[in-house]
């Protein structure tokens, strides 16, 4: 495909996304307010069956959404995602290049939720950065730290779930400060509410090794699989 054809394709995709956004935006037109949550630059984590990915996400007050993975960040570039939109209690945007549709629960303090792709799905979680919208992406160094668990507390298996032979899965996401403390844990996915409490208790009792300064925070998630096997 020639460069001009590729540009045309991108323009078409952007136009299609813009139309979709127009169709789903609230009729009052107040979908985006400058400076209002979630406008800003976010440090994000995406997880799924195909692996995990760190990236920066920029949500501008005028509705534009841009992403920078390590490759774009290294070049100091953003890649456009089209527009983000607010629909009831949700924040939504598309990544047309990777065919992913992102949804965030707009009632949370942090930004994150689930994503759906063709044949794949997962979750994502973001912590705010101090960077301003319309700047270059933040330093790639912010995407590289490896978070090493220092204490991983195990959740208790709820007795009521054992008695009812219930198995399940949860995912909790949170922010990890430079000192390794876990902040604002949330349950992003759960197959059954009975596992929610033990998941949050376990996360609250965990911590990571320090990896940076106190004023920084990285998003992280932890999945829990609750299983029962015959043995008594």
């Amino acid at each position: 495909m020639s460069a001009s054809a590729a540009r045309r394709g991108l323009c078409f995709t952007a136009a299609a996304v813009a139309l979709l956004a127009a169709a789903t935006a609230p009729p009052d037109g107040a979908a985006h307010e400058a400076e209002a949550w979630p406008v800003g630059v976010w440090s994000c984590l995406l997880y799924g069956t195909s692996g995990d990915l760190r990236f920066y996400l920029e949500l501008a007050g005028h509705g534009a959404a841009r992403i920078a993975r390590a490759t774009e960040t290294e070049k100091g570039e953003w890649r456009s995602l089209g527009v983000w939109r607010r629909a009831r209690d949700r924040i939504e945007f598309d990544d047309p290049l990777n065919g992913r549709f992102f949804v965030a629960d707009g009632r949370r303090a942090d930004l994150g939720g689930t994503w759906l792709g063709s044949g794949d799905r997962g979750g994502w979680w973001c912590t705010p950065t101090a960077y301003a919208v319309d700047d270059e992406p933040p330093s790639i160094a912010g995407l590289l730290p490896v978070l090493v668990p220092a204490v991983m507390a195990s959740p208790r298996y709820p007795l009521s779930a054992i008695r009812e032979a219930k198995e399940g899965r949860t995912v909790s996401c949170f922010a990890v400060t430079g000192a390794g403390e876990i902040l604002r844990p949330e349950v992003v996915e759960t197959t059954d509410d009975v596992f929610r409490g033990p998941t949050l208790e376990a996360v609250a009792g965990s911590r990571y090794r320090s990896w940076g300064s106190d004023d920084e925070a990285l998003p992280a998630c932890r999945s829990f699989t609750f299983e029962l096997r015959a043995g008594g």
Partner: protein, 160 residues
């Protein structure tokens, strides 16, 4: 927690012992001793219930089905007293008379559970569940069995 479970399981058994929401409707006016025995067991007066039920079986006219119900009640009362072996004997007799009496299977399951015979307890509770799928007593006893036989495991994975 253990105390709670015991109380819960006994409650299930007492409920099972009562045979029906109103035990008199099962045993009828022609079998007042059996009805009084069922009421006593339901009220937790197991010794009285056992005595009255045995008297009723000896003196009142009972069909095989009613006799099976009374034996299931004796099974429940002895199980509630922690006398699992005696309970199992009564339940065996009850099942032989009426193989569709789910309470006898349920009560015997609880007695097997008391003895740590979980495979037998599971087999009986499965039969009880097939005969009375919605009975809360069955769910209660299956919970007790699951608690002893299922090993929980939680695996964690960090995503970053």
């Amino acid at each position: 927690m253990r105390r709670f479970l015991l109380v819960a399981s006994l409650a299930a058994l007492v409920s099972a012992a009562s045979a029906q929401p109103d035990s008199r409707s099962v045993f009828g006016t022609r079998t007042p001793l059996l009805a009084a025995g069922a009421d006593a067991i339901r009220a937790g007066r197991y010794d009285d219930g056992i005595r009255l039920t045995i008297q009723g079986l000896e003196s009142e006219p009972v069909s095989p089905r009613l006799k099976a119900a009374a034996l299931a009640n004796l099974c429940a009362a002895h199980a509630a007293k922690g006398e699992a072996d005696v309970a199992i004997d009564f339940c065996d007799e009850s099942v032989e008379l009426d193989p569709r009496n789910w309470r006898a299977y349920s009560n015997r399951s609880y007695a097997y559970w008391q003895k740590g015979m979980y495979a037998e307890a599971t087999a009986d509770i499965d039969v009880a569940a097939s005969l009375a799928p919605g009975a809360p007593q069955i769910r209660e006893i299956r919970g007790l069995i699951n608690e002893k036989t299922l090993l929980p495991r939680v695996t964690m994975e960090n995503r970053q």
